[in-house]
Structures are given as C-alpha cells and as structure tokens.
C-alpha cells in the first residue's frame, strides 16, 4: 500500500453488518456488505480479501469506523461512527439535518450543519430502541429480519409496554402463549422501537430535515411508523445503510494527515 492511493475505502464494522464503500476520483466505485459474525478481526480480514479480489488493495487508503473499528488493523486511521455518519449523511442528503441511526447495538442522533457534526446523542446502555431489540424478538418469533418487517406491515400492533428487552421478551412470550397473531406481535415490536427512538429524538431536538440511516432504513414499515410517532416525515435513501462507510471513505480521501 505504499504506492499513491487511487482507491479510498471506508469500512464500517457494525455490531450486526459490516459495510464497505470504495471511492475513486470522488465517485463511488464499489460497495458491499458482509455479516459481522462474532469475530470482528475475521470480518475485517474477510473484507480485506474482498478488497484484494476486487483489485483495490494495492493502491488503497482506508479508514475504519463503527463498533468494531479497532479490529481493522490494516486501516490507516480510525474515526468514530458519529463523524462518519455525519459526513456520509451530508454526502447523500446534502442538507442540514438530524440523522437518526438505528443500529444493531445503539441508536444515535446526529445534528449536521454545513457538513459538520454540530451535536450528537447516543443511546448505548440499553437494547430497547435499537435494532438489537428487533433481532431478539425476531428470533423469538422464528423469523429473520426481513420476514419480521414483512409480518409487521400486515399486523395490528399489540402493546409491548416493558422498557427492558429482557422483560419485553417475556411479554412477547406471553402474547405468543395467549395465541396472538405473529403479525400483530411483530408490529408491536416495531412500534415499541419506534416509540423509544421518537422519545430520544424529542429530547435531542430535531432539525427541519430528519433522515434515517443504518440497517432499519430498509424497512418502509419502520420508517412510516417512526414518521407517525415523531409527527414529521422521516426520509431515507437506498444508500443510507452505507452512510457510515461512505463517511469513512470520504475521510480517507480527504485526510491531509494521511498523506
């Protein structure tokens, strides 16, 4: 990697999925996603293999971000997911906004003004209001995430009132036990997460534009529910899932201290 870099890779190792974006001449050259699995270092190696196979690794500069960023030992620099989501979000949406990132491990609110992160808030002490909550409940309902979103869209939300994931799981089990429909339970789970996220957003204070990044932006049902609870439309973008990785790649392309 000693030659002048042509490719700028951003690697976002999330708790559930690892996203990679490669830039060349300021344009997106390639992107891919891999499951993170239990070993961040193995995931980082699998990504490097991909980057080699696809022919970027020999002339590449790379910035790692996300929960498992320190596992990417070949990264030239590590930057937090807050900064990367801010930069990537700015590149995708090109306006002042509040970014809501519902991840597998935590939920973040990031205020972006003129391309810079102006303020942020994280919920990372509790699984309620994060993708983890949906994952746990999906497992309980014997569904994968896509099936979960699909089911929820066809259900009438049941109330899930427990704040704690562990207790909410017992609540879901008792719903199952009393013969409630899976669709209704799934809808209840999505509503519960959306409520928590909306509460956090109200506390944080929102900009005129609200956008959603992270894995949950692939569920139209979640976006609709969240918009309803916030009382303001929430936008997203097909590429929003890659916002963190894109921000990292942009950082790699720009950083003077990496020259």
């Amino acid at each position: 990697m000693s030659t002048t870099p042509v490719y700028f890779a951003g690697i976002d190792i999330g708790s559930t999925a690892s996203k990679t974006v490669v830039l060349k001449d300021g344009k997106i050259e390639d992107y891919f996603v891999l499951p993170t699995g239990w070993n961040g270092r193995e995931t980082a190696n699998a990504i490097l293999e991909q980057l080699k196979t696809r022919g970027y690794a020999d002339a590449m500069r790379c910035v790692a971000t996300g929960y498992g960023r320190i596992c990417v030992d070949y990264a030239d620099k590590i930057v937090t997911e807050i900064t990367c989501h801010g930069k990537g979000g700015w590149a995708i949406f090109k306006k002042n906004m509040t970014i809501i990132d519902v991840g597998g491990q935590d939920t973040k609110m990031i205020k972006v003004i003129d391309g810079q992160v102006a303020d942020f808030l994280m919920n990372d002490k509790c699984a309620a209001g994060t993708g983890k909550f949906i994952e746990v409940m999906a497992t309980r309902l014997g569904a994968d995430l896509n099936e979960m979103y699909e089911m929820a869209a066809h259900g009438q939300p049941l109330a899930i009132s427990a704040m704690c994931t562990v207790f909410a799981e017992s609540e879901v089990i008792s719903h199952i036990g009393s013969g409630e429909k899976r669709e209704d339970i799934a809808a209840g789970v999505i509503h519960s997460v959306a409520s928590r996220v909306a509460n956090l957003a109200a506390r944080f204070g929102l900009e005129e534009n609200i956008v959603l990044t992270g894995g949950l932006c692939e569920s139209p049902y979640f976006i609709q529910t969240l918009s309803d609870k916030i009382g303001h439309p929430v936008e997203t973008d097909a590429f929003a899932r890659y916002a963190g990785a894109l921000g990292a790649a942009l950082t790699a392309a720009k950083r003077r201290d990496l020259e």
Binding site: T80, T83, D106, Q116, A118, M122, D124
Partner: protein, 382 residues
C-alpha cells in the same frame, strides 16, 4: 501535555501518605474532623486546631456493601462515602473524632442519618438559595458549627483564632487558584490530569503552610518550563473545560482519556477545581458574616436559581480560551443533571461545543464513553 513529572505522586500515593500523617496526629493527641464537602468552613476547624480529614468517596469498591442499606439508584459518591464507613475501609473516617456533613442534596442528607449510627455525624443545614433569609440562616449554621466544636472538644474558640485561620486559608486558596490558572496559558503548560490529581492529593496534607509551599513551588516550576520551552508555540490541541459533579472518582475514565485522545483539559468548574477558590473570605467583615457569605456563594447546583454558575462558566470559556465543555454527571445527581440544560445553553450560545456524560465509578461504560469522547473531539478538530 500528558507528560507527568518524574516525582509525580499519584492520588493513591498521596492518600496513603496521608494515613501515616493522620495516625501521627492521633498518636500525639491531636484533633481530627472528617469532612466531605467544600461547603464546610474549614477556617473553624483550623481555629479549633483540628485537621480536616477528606473522607473517602471516590471508588466503587465499597459500593456493593453500601447497597445492602442504600438504594442502587443513588449517586456513586454518596454510596461510596457510606460504603467506606460501613466497611471500615477509610482510615480517615476511622481516625475522625466526628464527621461534619451538610445538606447539599437529599441523598446525602438522608444518608447521614445512617452514617450517624456508625460515627457521630453532625449535619450543617445548608439553605438552597442565596437571599437574605438564607444568608441569615447560614450565618447561624456557621456559628452553630463553631459551638459544636467548642462543646465537643471542651475548648473556647476566639475571634483572633478564626481571623488567623481566615488569613491562612485565603493564602492557600490563592496559591491553589494560581496553580489552576496555569491552564489559562496557551499552549497548556501542564496536563489537567496532573492539576486535578495534585489538588486532591494536597487535601491529604494537613499542614497548610506546607501545602502552600508545595503548590507555589510547582506553579513556579511549571511557569518557568513554559516560558523556556512552550511560550509562543501555538498548539492545535482542543482546549477543554470540565464542569459538573466532583470528578475524582472518574478522573482516569474521563479526564485522562480526553488527554490521551489529543486534547488539553485546561479548566475545572467543579468542587475540586476553581469553584470554591475564586472567592476568598472577606477579611474586613465581621467573621461569621464573612464566612457565611463566602461559602453560600459557592456555585453548587443545589442552589436555586444558580445563575452565577452560568456567568462563571461564560467567563471561564473566554479566560481559558476553551473550545469545548465536557460536563460530568454522576448517575442520579438530579441537581447537576437538570441544571445541565442551562450549562448546555450557556456553552452553545457562545458557539462552543458541549458534551454531557452521565456515568458512575464502574468500568462498565468505558467503551461507550471512549466513543463519545472521540466523536466529541472529532467535532472540535481544527
């Protein structure tokens, strides 16, 4: 600037050295009064020729024991204070003749009732506002503490003794403040980690004259080093002001981490920073009025309203050329937590960045705090 001097005494070392001094005082028939908070007028203890022992309150070790009697959802400082007393693991508590508490929050107020079962705990009733009635009542409390000391030790405390104590304590305040104000220099001449550790550590030295000499010497040394080696050399490291709750119990987790990540902690608006040092006791007023006025003006969040704290933070941001403010909230400290609303407003109105971290003494949230601090410093990159 996280280079610590070769002879740097850690907090633990200073605390340990204090044990021996304390035992010596006790063996020679000396008087020792245990205190927790900067609201207790130390001049009265000095006038009674009693050492003020800073009681242990900043480790999570005794917290499980404390939680056998206290609720879990309580500030770690209160739980640790009580836990150390309950498990008899704080030598300062052990050697104290009695304890002086104060009503700086509801948690402490009620905890002191339980503590009183372990050792006599005398509580000063601190009013929570600064109007005339509050000042009158607090003046009464200051006099009541003097009388308590006289009763307890069967002594008479004279006005002259109190005046001498006021002069000496004011000198010590000036010396400490002078040391902390080194943080106004740019580039920062000394790490915030060292400043905080030294100040807390000196609390374990019961000879005020010696305390003053040590800190004045170190101030001179740092200043000379700065003049010779750093003056005029601009630094790009962001300059941080720490505010909020007492931070001794999270100094490694937060302050050290901030400096390791490439910022300089230059200013401390907290009980173990400049907060108690900025206003001396007026040496020309009647003594009890002077003491009451000075101590009631401490910018603790228990005061309502507490606008003077916002004013002070506003001034500090300018004087210390601060780029970002990190507020440390100890879990379940309602007054600082709620007041953080105004602190954030004050800071962001000046166009500066603000981060609030709510934490306790455990290591459980180390990773999350690291991410927050890193992200915050990334927003400050120049």
């Amino acid at each position: 600037m996280l280079n610590l001097p070769a002879n740097f005494e850690t907090y633990a070392e200073a605390r340990k050295a204090g044990f021996m001094k304390m035992k010596e005082i006790k063996d020679n028939g000396g008087r020792i009064v245990g205190v927790y908070c900067s609201f207790v007028p130390q001049e009265l203890l000095m006038a009674a020729n009693a050492a003020a022992a800073p009681l242990c309150a900043s480790s999570d070790e005794p917290i499980p024991a404390a939680e056998t009697k206290l609720p879990r959802n309580l500030c770690p400082l209160i739980k640790a204070s009580y836990g150390f007393a309950l498990t008899d693991t704080c030598p300062y508590f052990y050697f104290s003749d009695f304890i002086v508490g104060e009503t700086t929050c509801d948690g402490k107020r009620k905890m002191f009732e339980l503590m009183n079962e372990l050792k006599e705990t005398y509580v000063m009733q601190l009013p929570h506002s600064r109007d005339e009635a509050a000042l009158r009542s607090w003046t009464g409390e200051v006099i009541r503490l003097k009388e308590k000391l006289e009763d307890f030790y069967h002594i008479t405390i004279t006005e002259d003794q109190i005046r001498d104590a006021i002069r000496l304590k004011n000198h010590e305040r000036r010396a400490m403040l002078g040391f902390l104000e080194l943080g106004k220099l740019n580039p920062a001449p000394i790490s915030g980690y060292e400043m905080g550790t030294r100040l807390d550590g000196l609390g374990f030295n019961f000879d005020l004259e010696e305390r003053i000499a040590i800190i004045e010497e170190r101030t001179k040394e740092v200043l000379a080093d700065w003049e010779a080696n750093y003056k005029g050399k601009e630094s790009t490291r962001p300059r941080i002001l720490i505010t909020g709750c007492p931070n001794s119990g999270v100094r490694d987790k937060i302050i050290k981490t901030v400096e390791e990540l490439g910022a300089d902690v230059v200013a401390f608006d907290c009980c173990n920073g400049t907060r108690e040092k900025v206003e001396p006791v007026d040496e020309n007023m009647p003594i009890y009025d002077a003491l009451a006025k000075k101590y009631l003006n401490i910018n603790c969040s228990v005061m309502s309203p507490n606008n003077s704290r916002m004013q002070y933070i506003d001034e500090m941001i300018d004087e210390y050329q601060v780029d970002g403010v990190i507020e440390i909230i100890l879990q379940a400290c309602h007054t600082y937590n709620i007041e953080s609303h105004y602190v954030k407003q004050t800071v962001t109105n000046k166009g500066k960045s603000y981060l609030m971290i709510e934490t306790d003494y455990s290591q459980a949230d180390k990773g999350q705090i690291l991410t927050r601090l890193e992200a915050f410093l990334e927003t400050l990159e120049k």
